[in-house]
Symmetry: D2
Subunit: 141 residues, 4 copies
Amino acid sequence: MPLKMSRDELQTFLVKAFPQVSDDFEVLTVNDAQITVRMAVSDRNLRPGGTVSGPSMFSLADVSIYLAILSRIGPKALAVTTNCSIDFMRKPESGRALVATARLLKLGRVLAVGDVLIYSEGGGQPVARAGLTYSIPPERA
Amino acid sequence: MPLKMSRDELQTFLVKAFPQVSDDFEVLTVNDAQITVRMAVSDRNLRPGGTVSGPSMFSLADVSIYLAILSRIGPKALAVTTNCSIDFMRKPESGRALVATARLLKLGRVLAVGDVLIYSEGGGQPVARAGLTYSIPPERA
Amino acid sequence: MPLKMSRDELQTFLVKAFPQVSDDFEVLTVNDAQITVRMAVSDRNLRPGGTVSGPSMFSLADVSIYLAILSRIGPKALAVTTNCSIDFMRKPESGRALVATARLLKLGRVLAVGDVLIYSEGGGQPVARAGLTYSIPPERA
Amino acid sequence: MPLKMSRDELQTFLVKAFPQVSDDFEVLTVNDAQITVRMAVSDRNLRPGGTVSGPSMFSLADVSIYLAILSRIGPKALAVTTNCSIDFMRKPESGRALVATARLLKLGRVLAVGDVLIYSEGGGQPVARAGLTYSIPPERA
């Protein structure tokens, strides 16, 4: 299935649609099989001890699948998250950005399902994994 | 099982341990059966259209179960979230705070499990539901 | 919201639609707020040590939400499970039936969401909890 | 990390520990990175229309991660499932066996986390995905 949005188009869309958070996220690569997204880690993402907060990792998983969906269906649709199941497996390394690798496993008429692995940048073992479902609303005529 | 921390003690703990986010959260009630926590909604929690972001709702669910655990075991332990499965069911009402009602279903030696319903303040139908697992590390001697 | 199927109608439907498993399940009560379903435990549901298997508890959670949906929309629709997140919290008591208490939290146009607590019959503490999502296909004309 | 149990040893263990279900499952391959397990589909796994039931797919996911854990820690431990989040994405093909590909993402002191993709045998697209957590009890002296 050909991509409808390139890496640059996804990044531009993110800046326009989510100005509050787009500084944090950078689309590194996107292809037919997967997308990788980097999240810079700033003070507001941190918990005591310098570790990245759970909501911040959730946020990265959520954005990654969202962008994977847009790369296939284009910027016009307003997909919304309906379910996320996330496992926090290891403490992210202090002071490091996070990188997510996301796969779209199903892109149906009304539901899309994907999964995500999150790593500390440069790290070999995933710090979190997640499965997400998005609802894709019907196009308005 | 008697509570080890009152509403005020939980609120004070939150301010000390999570200064970055404690302004957002207010413990409304806590008893043996459940805890209710309010999250003020500010600009940074919003998405286009005025709806509250998924990560913000995740954050409220996470804090609510964390505080429910502390109310039973006291402020000394460092519990960490290991899993969260969250369903986003309805769009929160624009400009309204969120209120979570959380129950602790299991408080074991190493794992605690709880579930949460989230409402727009004053609203009758839940906007999200979540189940969470926390790992409780062994006490240091 | 009025019920479209009574306890007896649900039980009759179960026998017709799922002859392979309907002997195991009995609808105990159904009303606007919740449904309770009993699952007899036989040898094929057991694991070494006499405990009920995870798939059997999953099955009970799944059937309970399915029947809760049918009680609201009637027997005509073919709803399918799209997601289940289940926590196994305690070992079920050996040789006891299981009883599930299920609530429908959302019944939308295309998705229904519910949650379930499962107890050993007569037991005070839940052995499992689950959240499930069903997809409701559009009616055929 | 070296394997502590080979494919044949896992299969033999399964037959001894789970005589009720072991006929259904066959370990196809196991290595450091993943395990593949085949589930034969018989009448009792079927739903109206010939599709495989949700509990059967749950069962395959559960067994696959269980065997992946045993391949690393050996046959002595009694690991128990504490959480499973499963997405049913496509209808399995009628009359086909299912094949699961499972990865162990974390093997900690007390918790193990893995994920699974399930396919109809010979099929190119996954019919289900799951993330599972197991609790590993401490060894008895």
